[in-house]
């Protein structure tokens, strides 16, 4: 059974604090996605959410969308790795018959997310490594995780802060071309290098830009819109990586810290899809920091290990570059979506309706963060 992203919708992104109530954003995005899919909201019968999402419950969504039945509801607990995992779960529901039309959704309210980001959560025990064993010696949170991975990468491949600059620059350029740049301006390279770092190699300009937004995706075996092209979900995968005893914060303590779960996901995706890396025309890579994106270019297998810095130096992330990446500007420049808005952008790229369009894109890859559990998907443009 072929399964499609039949519709996408969103509210925002807008600058932090400027969005309407979280429930309002979530409902707007959901209605927008249903409209895009050409379906009545009442016909949605499944909901898949990030477990971090406190905007609106599946029950409330069902009630306010006027759904005739809520026969399937799941929250995925993979933090930033949840994005494509939502599609993975939705496909399983559709193929099993548990649901016919599944709404995947993620709403981010910047102020709430920033509070969540620095607080331990006893309901998610995978985070307890940090308060119990890492924070007593100075652990500071997600920047520490990616700062330690950066340093190990630097030790092996000679990566420097100057290699992060083109990532920040090209994401801002992509966001500007997409008419939605929320990031602070980037100074010239020398001035950037002179900025004080906070944790590891990072300055605030290397981090995601907080925003208020909601994204929604409709997954179904049918695309009932009046478009002549659709987007098929060719493959989805999840992985906690080659060392399942380490996760999120403890990832840098794994002996194979640079052999990331994102690599495992990418390998599964290409094997499942029967495609090769060269078939991919555009990629949506999780980008909470500049290094995260640089590292994922390599972990996707699209670039050889140690080769992403050179690709970025050559403007390879722009739509006309060698590896068009996050043409919407990603979470680094267009608003933090926990990686979910990348899926909406890939769908628009494959429909050839994106604002910052990659020429003749036929296949897209979406990949979550290199600290598991994480997920990914390959999408394909198809005639309807």
């Amino acid at each position: 059974m072929n399964v499609y992203v039949a519709g996408v919708g969103e509210s925002g992104p807008v600058a932090r604090g400027k969005g309407p109530a979280a429930e309002t954003m979530a409902l707007r995005a959901a209605f927008d996605a249903c409209r895009d899919a050409g379906i009545e909201p009442a016909k949605v019968d499944g909901i898949v959410r990030y477990s971090h999402d406190g905007a609106i419950s599946a029950m409330s969504l069902a009630a306010n969308l006027g759904m005739e039945e809520l026969s399937f509801a799941v929250d995925v607990p993979h933090a930033g790795g949840s994005g494509a995992a939502l599609l993975d779960v939705a496909i399983a529901a559709v193929r099993s018959g548990a649901a016919r039309t599944v709404l995947c959704t993620r709403t981010v309210v910047a102020e709430e997310w920033l509070r969540q980001l620095v607080a331990p959560d006893p309901l998610r025990p995978f985070y307890l490594d940090a308060p119990n064993y890492l924070r007593p010696v100075g652990w500071t949170g997600y920047l520490h995780l990616f700062g330690l991975l950066y340093q190990e990468h630097a030790n092996r491949y000679g990566t420097t802060r100057a290699d992060l600059y083109p990532v920040a620059e090209q994401m801002r350029q992509n966001a500007k071309s997409s008419l939605l740049d929320l990031a602070d301006p980037l100074p010239a390279l020398d001035d950037y290098l002179a900025l004080p770092t906070t944790v590891g190699p990072f300055t605030p300009l290397d981090e995601f830009v907080p925003a208020d937004l909601s994204c929604a995706v409709i997954v179904s075996a049918h695309d009932r819109s009046d478009r002549s092209v659709g987007v098929e979900i060719v493959a989805t995968a999840q992985s906690q990586g080659p060392e399942p005893m380490s996760w999120f914060d403890s990832r840098p303590l794994s002996p194979d810290a640079l052999d990331s779960p994102s690599r495992a996901v990418a390998d599964k995706l290409f094997a499942s899809a029967g495609l090769v890396r060269g078939d991919i025309d555009v990629v949506g890579l999780y980008d909470c920091t500049t290094f995260t994106l640089l590292f994922l270019l390599e972990e996707s297998g699209l670039v050889e290990r140690g080769g992403a810095a050179e690709l970025a130096r050559l403007d390879g992330l722009l739509p006309h570059g060698a590896c068009p990446t996050n043409p919407h500007g990603g979470d680094l420049a267009a608003g933090y979506s926990h990686g979910f808005r990348h899926i909406l952008e890939m769908v628009r790229q494959l429909r050839w309706t994106a604002v910052n369009q990659v020429s003749a894109a036929e296949h897209a890859l979406v990949l979550g963060p290199p600290a598991g559990p994480t997920s990914g998907a390959i999408l394909r443009r198809v005639a309807l």
Binding site: N132, Y133, P136, V137, T140, L143, L148, V199, P252
Partner: protein, 163 residues
Amino acid sequence: MNETTAEVTVLGLCDAEKGTAGMAAQYGEILAGGRAVLQGCARCGAAAFPPRLRCRSCSSDDLQWWDAGDTAKVTSWARVALNGPTETASVPRRVGKDGPYTTVVVQPESFADVRLLCLLVTADGGIEHDAVPTSNDRVTVRTASLGGSMVPVCSLGPNEDPR
């Protein structure tokens, strides 16, 4: 309880039945003895850190706290150049008030599959504000009192392997 076998020094039992929080409390008590520690499996000999409720290798719950040894090799580090928390960096008060400081991932020389996170300190035990390590540096691992509790720390050197 200090029982030395051919390969490891057992510092105590790691009681997984107490759950994640109970194990963390035990960890703090064991560190108070002055030695950096990791989790070991009495059944198969596998070592791990952070500790888990079952052995990573054989799933046994017959777990112990093992001495991590005196020396280790640097694999990574992150310098924190902040004197307090920001929106995205939750700098602990106990170290952040007089930064900068550096946390170091080290591989104990006796446990190739394990890495610990340590705070970099000077030879006399104060927080190291200036020096940062380089990859594969040898460091001395121990514990030090910080904010009222003992934590694993490391200092640069010795440069030569005494073995």
